[in-house]
């Protein structure tokens, strides 16, 4: 883990994250976490769907980031995804950055 400060890692997700793609998302996020960035910014602008499986992955990553002293931030969340987050009450869990 890097000791340097204020490293932002920006990553854009795209497409439909249903249960079948959850493990793929998991690997992507794991790689991002492995970079040791202070802040990981996930751009969900091009995400069309987030399943509960995908949400779980996001939550896990969020928790791991918190545990490691960094932060996972969601940004550019489409309305459709936002609705899901709100429905699950997770809009209060994730750090959400408005653009």
């Amino acid at each position: 883990m890097t000791t340097s400060q204020d490293i932002n890692h920006y990553h854009a997700l795209e497409g439909r994250y249903d249960a079948l793609r959850a493990s793929e998302l998991d690997q992507q996020l794991q790689q991002l976490l492995d970079t040791g960035a202070d802040t990981i910014v996930l751009d969900l602008g091009d995400v069309t769907y987030v399943s509960s499986s995908a949400l779980r992955v996001l939550l896990l990553a969020h928790r791991q980031a918190s545990d490691e002293g960094s932060e996972l931030v969601l940004t550019n969340i489409p309305q459709r995804v936002m609705r899901v987050l709100r429905m699950a009450g997770l809009d209060r869990v994730f750090g959400i950055r408005t653009v």
Binding site: A19, Q27, S52, L59, A88, L90, R92, V93
Partner: protein, 959 residues
Amino acid sequence: MATRLSAYLSLAALTLPGFLAVILGLVALGSAILFACWFRARKQYRDVLSLTGLSQQVLQTGMEPTSLYRVISAHMRRLTPHAALVVQIEPGRGQSRPLTIVEGGQVLDDSQYAEIGPGAYDWLKEHRQILVVPDFDRSPIEPLRLGGTPQSGLYIPLTVQDRFLGAISLQSPRRRSFGRRQQTPFAVSAEQIALGLDGARLYRKEQERSDQLMLIAEVSRKVAAILDLDTLFSDTVKLVADILGYYHASIFSLDRKQRIITMQASSNPAIQERGITVPWGTGLIGHAALGQVIVANDVRQDPRYLAHEALDRAAAEVALPLMVEDRVLGVLDLQSDRYGSFDEDEISILRILADQIAVAIEDSQIYRAQQEQSWVSTALLQVAEALAEESTLEEVAATVSRLAQLLTGVEHCTLLSYSAESDEFCLPVSGNAPGQPPSCMLRYPSEEIPALKRVAVSGTGISDPAALGPLARLWGNERENGHRMLAYPLAPRGSLMGVMLAQTPNSEDLPAPQRTILEGIARQAALAMDNAALLAAQREEAWVSTALLQVANVIASGSYDLDETVSTVVRLIPMLMGVSWCAILVREPEQHRYAGVASYGLTSNLQDLPATPLYSYDRLPWLDDLQQSNEIQTLDSPMDGSALGLEPADRGQIETLALALRAHQHDLGLLLVGAQLAAPALAGRRLTLLSGIASQASLAISATRLYEQAVRRERLEHEMNLAMDIQTSFLPECCPDVPGWRIAVEWRAARGVGGDYYDFVQLNTSQLGVSIADVSDKGVAAALYMALSRTVLRAAALDTRGPAATLERANRILLEDSRSGMFVSLVYGILDIEQGLYRFVRAGHNPPLLLRAADREILTLEPAGIVLGIVPDPALEEQTVELAPGDTLVLYTDGVTEAWNGDEQEFGINRLKQILLENCSLAPDGLIQRINEAVYEFVGNLPQADDYTMVVIQREPES
């Protein structure tokens, strides 16, 4: 006379006494005459007898001087006394001195007594008459002074039929010793002596001729017996010089092409040693070579004569063409140390000798040609036999090299094989393992040696070392330009297989028979090469088949274990192909990478490493390029093993090849192979074999993977079935029977085991706990979490008062085991059966819908709340709704509203509401059926990722 006698007789007859007297007188006279006649006749008879004997006696002397003197002297003494007798014989051709015999029996020194008498001999030769010198003092003729002083002389010419043979002189110390009357007997004697001499000379000549013929016959006989041409030449000149007694004899042969005449043998060892070459048409020999006998009886007079310092005594020379029919084979040259030695007789005899020699030469040449032919045949037979035993190109090359040197005397001979594929010539090395193509010690691209390619086409030899380019260094003697290089194309069936190169030992062309043999060897070599190639091809084919069979067997007999399969393949390839190293990278498309699973021949092999090396093809895109290639690719650094950290144990120049492993259109990975550049080229059948092995490996890897997948799927299915059984056992067997209420449920798991569940808990007689939940994720883990959360919820529900308190409690329990990151969204509420109230909380779940039958409207119930299992305080908000008779409460999971049609469209909450509104009069099961139909119509056959659950509760309408 008769008339006169008859006249006398008639006269006598007139007077009888006179007649008688006459008769008597006549008788007396007649008697006297008769006596005188008898006496003369008797003397003449004696003289005739003596003279007849004389010619015989002279003849019998055979020209031998002493005997000749005795005969002539004895005869002359009988005729007349004399003081000195001198006989001088005209010299024959080829004789330089007259034969002079003097009284006293001695043949004296010719310088002193050159003639019978100064002036006399020439006079006699001119006049052919007897000359009497009565007194020398009064005569211009000088006597021959032999002690005394001769006073008179008699000179008699010796002639036969106008031919002057010589002269005899008699000298007397007295004047007038020889009277004119004595001339007749001398003349007759001279005639007899001359006849005798002529006879003797003829006889002698015949004798000589016969002797010479005998000698020639002897020479011819000996010459004819000699079959070897060199021996023939040297023996002939010796025989001719020794037996025929010439000063020098030599034989020349002709080279018409070079237009030179070369001495083959000389009777003089010094000349034999040094040799003579005569330009065409010069000298006596050069002229004779044109077909004419050239005679110079006095070489000083002949401008064509070419003097030789070793032959200073040469006086006469004859050059005889050695001819068979009209062909001149050579020249026989004879030299004599006597002028005028070669008269016509001699020449005609020598012509016979020349003809004999010519025939002998021809015979010898024919014999030699036959010998050579038979030798060539034998040699080629040996070559054929020797080559028939060789089965590899290297053996053929070695045998050809050895036999060519042995049989033709060439310094070097070697075979270069030719590859049309690479258009290069190759010097093969020996010692290849069977089944492997010959490797090249040296390679010569054909454009570097255009001359060699030309040879292949035209079949002509090369003699210019410059034209050979790098080949000139083949035998390390490029500086010696004297050698000739001969090249023969080897094209057994029309297509070029190689070239045979031979180097002559010196600048001379090879002799014809050796060239013939070399050509024969080349032909045989071509056939042997062809056979070897066919045999090698057969062997290789058999070997390839066997090798592939082995690979197939080994792979097939192994278990369906990927590691074992790839390990087997990487061990087999170096064994079968003689390559230095090989490695297998397996493609893992989900991770965008290749995994180095097995290798052989590396300093540290992949399977032995603590962690499998991974190569992302995002970073090494060429890996995936190779994967897409249908052909074997040769890799250049840095796109090779070193780029992947693969370090061959075998150091040296290594060529890396890559083959894509592919089966059933699936990209499985890469096979990398490294071969020493010096090793036999990976070409032709070996590449075919490599491809074959790669295909086998691909099939094996594919089969292994399919097997693994099948096993995994089977295991999963088994687990799933088990989990589903467990899960189904958790779920209520549909719906509790509640008076005044109609309840229906729909539950469908997306992948065997679902994350959704619903539950009914009878809290007391009037309260029914109703919940619907969706555990994050799917599958077994979700099912387990579902089981956990259901149990927790049930326990909490039974234990607590309100729905919020129940879920908060459940959340606390779930949070205690939050490592899985699992969470559950749910709606839990308590239905008051009698009052028709539903008091509920919504923990991050889809908002329930309340269908009000009276108003035909739908309420979306959306109190706040976070999913359980994530945060300590899910901030749940309780809400209570009242269900009037006919009202319907619809709980659902996102599997319903988020049913997906593959066109980026969800079924959606609005469609759901629409269906509910359209069918508000239907009972719950009817509603569910309509919703199912609508969803099914929307998504078609597309498999759904999410579980699909609905709980529909309707208060019975008042009838």
